[in-house]
Symmetry: C2
Subunit: 275 residues, 2 copies
C-alpha cells in the first residue's frame, strides 16, 4: 500500500492523527524535497523534528529522485506499506496525480490522507473561497522570458467579479543551471522564493504593457505569507501600497480581489494596511 500523506501547513504538528497512524505502520517513509521542508517553515536541518514526532526515519526525495526513481518507490509499495509525505494536501497546489496514476497502473493500492492546502487556508483572510475563479501561477520574469498568460485569466475572473489566487511558486532547488548543464556538470542554484512584492511589480508591468484596465495600482490585493504557521502574515491593500511591505520569509501567495461582499469587507478590514 502507498500512503500519500498530506502534512498540512505550518509545522510538523499540522499532520493529522490518521496521517501519523499511517506513518507509524509504514516500513519506509519518503518525503518530497527540501522546498517542502522550507514551506513548512523548517530549515532542512530541522528534519529530525519531523522524524522525532513521527517516530520514523524519513528519506528526503528530491525532484530528480521522484521523477527518476518513482518506480522503485512503487515497487517497494507493492510489497510493503510505504508513505510518501507531501506538504499541504496531496491534491492541492502541487498535485501528485502522476504518482497515483503510475501506482494504479502497477496495481499498487493507494490511500490518500488529506490535509489543509493553501487552496483552502487562504479563506482565513475573509474572502469566500466559492467566489474564486481560475487560479494562476506567476513565475519569475527573466531578461528574456516574461510570460504573461495569467493576464487573460485575471481578466476573465475580474469580469465575473471573482477573486484570483496567484501561486508564487517558482522555486529552484537543486535544479541545474543552464550553464552547468552545457558543461555537463550538475551545479545547483540556491532556492529562490518569489515575494508578494515581486509578484505585484510584475503584475503592474504586464498591465502597463497591455495598456489595459484589468488591474492597476489601486486594485485591492491580499498578500499572505507562511499560512498556517504561528507567524503568518496577511496584509490587504491597494497593489501599490503592498509593493514595499516586508512579508518576511517564504512561502508567499497573493490574491487579487474581485467584487467584495460586506461580510468579506468586514473581515478584510482587520488586515487592511493604513494609508
Amino acid at each position: 500500500m502507498l500512503y500519500i500523506v498530506g502534512l498540512g501547513l505550518g509545522d510538523e504538528r499540522a499532520i493529522t492523527v490518521r496521517g501519523l497512524d499511517a506513518i507509524r505502520i509504514c516500513a519506509k517513509i519518503y518525503m518530497e524535497a527540501c522546498t517542502s521542508l522550507l514551506s513548512l517553515g523548517l530549515d532542512p536541518s530541522a528534519l529530525p523534528n519531523l522524524e522525532k514526532l513521527y517516530g520514523k526515519e524519513i528519506t528526503v526525495a528530491d525532484r530528480e529522485m521522484v521523477e527518476e526513481r518513482a518506480d522503485q518507490v512503487l515497487r517497494e509499495a507493492a510489497d510493503a506499506d510505504v508513505a510518501f509525505l507531501v506538504v499541504g494536501d496531496p491534491f492541492g497546489a502541487t498535485t501528485h496525480t502522476d504518482l497515483v496514476v503510475r501506482a494504479k497502473n502497477m496495481g499498487v493500492d493507494v490511500k490518500v490522507i488529506h490535509n489543509a492546502s493553501i487552496m483552502n487556508a487562504i479563506g482565513v483572510c475573509g474572502l469566500q473561497l466559492y467566489r474564486n475563479g481560475e487560479t494562476i501561477s506567476i513565475p519569475f520574469f527573466t531578461e528574456t522570458w516574461r510570460p504573461d498568460s495569467f493576464y487573460d485569466k485575471i481578466q476573465n475572473n475580474r469580469r465575473l467579479g471573482l477573486h484570483t489566487l496567484a501561486y508564487l511558486v517558482h522555486i529552484r532547488v537543486k535544479e541545474s543551471t543552464w550553464e552547468s548543464l552545457c558543461r555537463g556538470k550538475k551545479v545547483y542554484e540556491p532556492p529562490r522564493f518569489m515575494t508578494v512584492n515581486t509578484a505585484i511589480s510584475q503584475l503592474l508591468e504586464v498591465e502597463e504593457a497591455h495598456g489595459g484596465s484589468v488591474h492597476g495600482r489601486d486594485s485591492l490585493c491580499i498578500g499572505l505569507a507562511r499560512l498556517g504557521s504561528d507567524d503568518q502574515k496577511i496584509i490587504a491593500g491597494p497593489m501599490v501600497k503592498l509593493l514595499d511591505v516586508d512579508f518576511g520569509p517564504p512561502l508567499h501567495c497573493l490574491i487579487i480581489a474581485g467584487v467584495t461582499h460586506p461580510l468579506e469587507e468586514e473581515m478584510l478590514e482587520f488586515y487592511m494596511i493604513k494609508w
Copy 2:
C-alpha cells in the same frame, strides 16, 4: 483565546496534532450541530468517540445556539481558552467568518487551525483544482421554489473551459417547518441530504427549461460521496449515466467537468462508469 479547529473529513482521527493540542488545553469545547457529525460519517450517538479521542467533553451547539448564543461563547473565550470545532476547514465550504469578526470586535484573540476541506479534497478525482471556476450550491427544489441562479455560473465556467464544483448542502436539521412556525410551535424536520442523483436531475430540468446548451445528458460529471472516509465513493461519467448510481449515505457533492487535460483524463479513467 478562541481556537477555531478544523476537524477535517472522514472520522474523528482526521483532526491534526495541532488541533488536538489546542483542544486539550481548552476549558470548554463547542462543536457545531449534528449535521457536522453526520458529515464526519458519524451518527450523533457517536459523539463519545470524539470525546474519547480528544479527552474532553463536547457541547454540541446547534444552529440556533451558534446564532443566538455566540456572544456567550465569545465572553467565555475572553477569559479562558475555548475551542469551537468545525468539520472540514474553518474557512472551507461553510465559513465561520462571522464568528471571527464578532470575536475580533469583542477583542477576543482568535487562532485558526486549518484542515482538509471538501474544496481541496475533491482533487483526489484527478481534476486539477486550479482549473475550477466559481463554486455553486444546488438547493432542493420544492413545488414553488426552483431557484436556478447557478445556471449562469456553470455557463460562465464552461465557456472558460473550467470545472464547476457544486455543493449539495441543503440540509435541514432542527429547522422548524413552515407549518409549525405558523402555529407558533418549534417542530423539527428530519435532516434531508441531497444526493448526486437529485442534483443531476435538477440540473437537467433547468437546462431543459432554458433550452440552452450549457450542459446536457452527455456532459461529464463526477459524483463524490463521503470524501476522506474509508468508504468514499467517486464515480465519473455522463450525467445521464450517474442518475441511477447509488452513492450511498451522505454527504455528496458533484463536479461538472470543463475541458479536461490528458493527465486529468488518465486519473478520471479509474473512476469512469462503464456504459
